[in-house]
Symmetry: C2
Subunit: 216 residues, 2 copies
Amino acid sequence: MADSAPPATATRSERKHAAIVAAAAAVFLETGYDRASMDEIAARSGVSKQTVYKHFSSKDLLFVAVVTEMMDQAGAAVHQAPPQLRDRAELEAFLLDYGVRIQTVALTPGLMQLRRLVISEVQRFPELARELYARGAGRAIGAMGALFETLRDDGLLAFEDVAETASQLNWLLMGEPINRVMMLGNEAIPTPAEIKRHTGAAVATFLAAFLHPDQR
Amino acid sequence: MADSAPPATATRSERKHAAIVAAAAAVFLETGYDRASMDEIAARSGVSKQTVYKHFSSKDLLFVAVVTEMMDQAGAAVHQAPPQLRDRAELEAFLLDYGVRIQTVALTPGLMQLRRLVISEVQRFPELARELYARGAGRAIGAMGALFETLRDDGLLAFEDVAETASQLNWLLMGEPINRVMMLGNEAIPTPAEIKRHTGAAVATFLAAFLHPDQR
DNA sequence: TCCAAACTGAACTAGACCGTTCAGTTCCGT
DNA sequence: ACGGAACTGAACGGTCTAGTTCAGTTTGGA
């Protein structure tokens, strides 16, 4: 019910460890930290409670380990190499592709629920929220900023504040859907067609503001 | 410790009612729904537990009443009449003022914590989250869209999709700060100077994209 | 093959908390 | 001023949970 198929070659202890993390992730995401019961996590792992406490000496530590693991998995799906962009058309095509991709990856039931979970425990586990922010918006904005500086050098973009500019693109793309889905629930996750339309509008606004005058 | 000075002219029952709501708001905001204890709410209200249950027959109902009340109070602080804007300079000045004002009102420790609280209970009380979204971003975008249509009629703005355009302004302004503060905590609330700078950048981008060509 | 480490299953401690109850007191409208 | 409604304070039932303990079983490396 909560397996991610750990390799059968692992030792028994490793298999149990993975099963506990997987079951705990499911239970925490479904019920939140407070209502998640260690007994249910043990039952769903197919493991005794004793064993759960052998691997994770408290509910707090298990929670931190589980959330960190989920962030690792989510982060692994996002990376990509910086592209070579020669003119306005290539830039626009890249931004459209990037916008669709980042929304498709981020607006996932699991990631949105993880976000809600982390926010709901921001007081008790502030370092988890910091980490999620750093790996999400922080990372995206940083990487985009680096790309923008080369594009400015190439005379494709014109702007003053890199961080502000990259942040504006990010929130033109993500602000509306991420906040709507957070509040209205995962049923409000946009369809691919909606993502494409919204991305087109956001990229148009961005280019109207930051495309270098020579490129128009 | 949690009083909002209910008028002394009210009946005893009304005073107790108000005290319960105020104390419950504080406790729910501090600890979240699950960890909030009815005993502590009663104690902080200066009221017996029996009386709490006389006014609110369950923790659920008390929570809904308290959150609704907080949303009412927050919503009352936002309204304003649609302005008359004649040229580019007036429009720009209005947008700068609007941007600063909406951020100043929304990026408040109480409102941010209310947002976290509602998000953390989105599964159990989806109607509260829907309501908060409708009264927050939904209302702001709707009102701004109505204004934008008159500005288009007046030849000040040029755009295709009203809702998308109003949403873009909203998230250019609010996306970055609201999401950063949600994750990094209320210590990350921007200073007035930061709000002003960020608003200037957002409004510049918006006008670059949507100011009518005749107005440049 | 053998033994230490890991695991099982179940019981148990200790505490929190919702919602109820009760006997007695205070308030307020008529 | 009086009677009913609201309130107090404390206790209690019932349920749930984190974490521990224990006696016995399984596993896997040397």
